[in-house]
């Protein structure tokens, strides 16, 4: 069908449409490709003032190491600067934030979606307001008590704050997913012999997987990409990836340091591509088909 209708369009329009898509793709992908390419060069090439084409040809890289590509930036970032610590910290933070957000979000979202009380609406509106606030308003308020209670600088503190920032969003998202699941399913499960919680666990959650995975993915991205909370609440050895990258960029006195940042950026971006590509099918497929009459 679509190919037939595409054939009917005038040739000029088709070429223009395709050209636009190609242009847009290049525009969107260029920064990533440029960074990926440049991460295997030395700083003199990638940030060359004399001739920008050095970044493409790698003239200075060849002069220094004999080949046009080098992994010194990665070596420097991962081994010398111990970027692997930041990677582990990020993994810990992301894992905990996703688990906590989803646990509270599914329970809360389910309760709100099945509640008949009018205050649930106001709870959700309040959640929306907190969602709209910039995260830094929360963080700045936390700083003083965290210093005084000696909680500053540790991963669990950051995890709690990130979950707090993230919760309104997960609550909203899961709430709307739960609302799409017919109430008859709960009721049927209850008549069949389940408690409310068993109905939630055995009947609702298995149907909810796409929603849980989607929400989990967004929670993960929030924790993964967070800068403000990590930068302000973590000590140097506990830094996550994004603040660590920022720290590399902030110290340009030594030659090559800025390349650590470039290599770290590539290291931090690559997993995201894999993740999104892997999960896209799960997000799209709906498990609720056939639950009620069709």
């Amino acid at each position: 069908m679509s190919s037939v209708s595409a054939q009917r369009r005038p040739k000029g329009l088709r070429i223009a449409a395709n050209a636009f898509v190609v242009f847009w793709l290049i525009l969107a992908a260029f920064p990533f490709l440029w960074t990926l390419w440049g991460s295997f060069k030395v700083e003199l090439d990638f940030f060359s003032i004399a001739d920008w084409t050095n970044a493409l040809t790698g003239a200075n890289t060849e002069r220094a190491y004999g080949t046009t590509t080098t992994t010194t930036a990665y070596h420097g970032a991962w081994i010398e600067q111990e970027f692997w610590r930041a990677v582990i910290n990020t993994a810990v933070v992301c894992f905990c934030v996703v688990c906590l957000s989803l646990t509270m979000g599914t329970l809360g979202g389910y309760a709100l979606s099945r509640s008949n009380y009018r205050y649930t609406f106001w709870l959700l509106i309040a959640a929306l307001m907190f969602r709209a606030m910039p995260p830094i308003t929360l963080v700045s308020g936390y700083l003083l008590p965290f210093f005084q209670w000696n909680l500053w600088g540790y991963l669990p503190t950051t995890i709690v704050v990130l979950v707090a920032i993230n919760q309104p969003f997960t609550l909203w998202m899961l709430h709307s997913f739960f609302q799409k699941i017919p109430k008859e399913l709960d009721e049927s499960a209850k008549v069949d012999g389940c408690t409310q919680f068993q109905a939630f666990r055995h009947v609702i959650i298995p149907v909810m997987w796409p929603g849980v995975i989607t929400t989990g993915l967004f929670s993960f991205l929030l924790a993964y990409n967070d800068f403000v909370v990590g930068a302000l609440l973590l000590s140097e050895e506990n830094r996550t990836m994004v603040p660590a990258i920022a720290a590399f960029l902030g110290t340009t006195q030594t030659e090559g340091n800025v390349m650590f940042a470039v290599a770290a950026v590539v290291s931090a971006t690559a997993p995201l591509f894999v993740l999104v590509m892997f999960f896209q099918r799960q997000i799209v497929s709906g498990l609720t088909a056939g639950a009620v009459k069709g």
């Binding site: 009721e187 499960a189 408690t195 056939g290 069709g294």
Partner: protein, 349 residues
């Protein structure tokens, strides 16, 4: 074995009345149908019995024990939902088995009981399919099998046929009737379709606006409706109702005159069934031009206007008349049902 008793059962949401003072004893193994238009409280009543809706006032007793505060899972009822509510992630076998699993029935019995239930509704060939891969009628049968697998004390069915097409509805209706006879379980069945009520029920409860209008066997409800609402709700077509006046023991209107009524003077509603009246050559109580003629196959339906109301009469299947032809209709007083013009309540026997 279970007898259900409802005592002054009421449900209110704020000032809105869902069900008002429902009193009824449902005998063991009885097939009871709650019948009424949408919003009449029939589904609410069933949901209160299932435990899915809190009771505002009154009591529900099963075998003499009040079950108002029991969770649905502790009531030993099973329910078929209008939308079937099958578990989409489980196949047919797992769907039917689910009540056994959550109620901790010994694992060894599962297979045999699921097979027995699925055989009863002829689902044996579909056990490994997911609900999404089934037709509406098959899904409906899965819901039935899931309800019967546990052999509960009470069966609740909430408009189980309303999502099926007309043909399937008739065959599934027969299946449900046969099933309830075989299982000998107290059944409460909610519907807005009077034909389902007539065909399935041992007793019918007609409801309107949360209030019970009449309780009785299908024949009683059909032959002696308690009020004008029941009369207008039961039967296909519904009973003809004509508003008019009684003067000197005769009901008369612009085209009707029924005499010999033993009633005081005043406004009344007169009703009669289409199949009780007849087209006649001479005499007759109604004399009016034909408003429309419908061929039903087994009969011909002639409709005329009396006091502004459309009145239908069933004639022989080869009877023919043109619109506008004058016809005479015999409505002897024996077939007439008289109702109070204000309250709608039945007058006389």
């Amino acid at each position: 074995m279970s007898e259900i008793e409802l005592r002054n059962l009421s449900k209110r949401w704020g000032s809105f009345v869902g069900v008002q003072d429902f009193n009824l004893t449902i005998a063991d193994q009885e097939f009871l149908v709650l019948l009424g238009p949408s919003g009449c409280g029939k589904t609410t009543t069933m949901r209160m019995i299932a435990g899915l809706e809190d009771v505002t006032d009154g009591e529900i007793l099963v075998d003499g024990k009040v079950i108002n505060d029991l969770e649905p899972k502790d009531r030993d009822v099973s329910m078929v939902f209008q939308s079937y509510a099958l578990y989409p992630n489980m196949n047919v076998y797992e769907n039917i088995r689910f009540p056994l699993k959550v109620r901790k029935v010994p694992e060894a019995e599962h297979e045999e009981r699921v097979m027995r239930a699925s055989a009863m509704v002829e689902l044996d060939d579909f056990l490994h399919r997911k609900p999404a891969e089934l037709s509406g009628g098959q899904r409906q049968r899965v819901a039935l099998a899931r309800a019967i697998v546990r052999e509960p004390n009470v069966f609740l069915m909430d408009e189980p046929l309303s999502n099926l097409d007309a043909k399937l509805r008739v065959s599934t209706r027969a299946q449900i009737k046969n099933l309830s006879h075989e299982l000998k379980v107290t059944t409460i069945y909610v519907t807005h379709d009077q034909i389902e009520a007539m065909t399935l029920a041992d007793r019918v409860v007609v409801m309107k606006g949360g209030i019970v209008q009449q309780v009785g066997s299908p024949t009683e409800i059909y032959d002696t409706p308690a009020n004008a609402f029941v009369a207008s709700f039961i039967g296909s077509p519904a009973m003809n109702l004509i508003n008019g006046e009684v003067t000197k023991k005769a009901f008369s209107g612009d085209t009707i005159s029924v005499s010999g009524l033993d009633l005081p003077d005043g406004p009344v509603t007169l009703g009669f069934r289409a199949e009780d009246a007849a087209i006649v050559e001479k005499g007759g109580q109604i004399q009016a031009p034909v408003y429309t003629m419908e061929l039903l196959g087994d009969a011909t339906m002639i409709t005329v206007k009396v006091n502004g109301e459309l009145v239908s009469v069933k004639a022989a299947k080869d009877y023919r008349a043109e619109i506008g032809d004058m016809v005479r209709i015999s409505v002897p007083k024996e077939i007439c049902h008289m109702f109070d013009a204000q309250t709608g309540a039945r007058i006389g026997g």
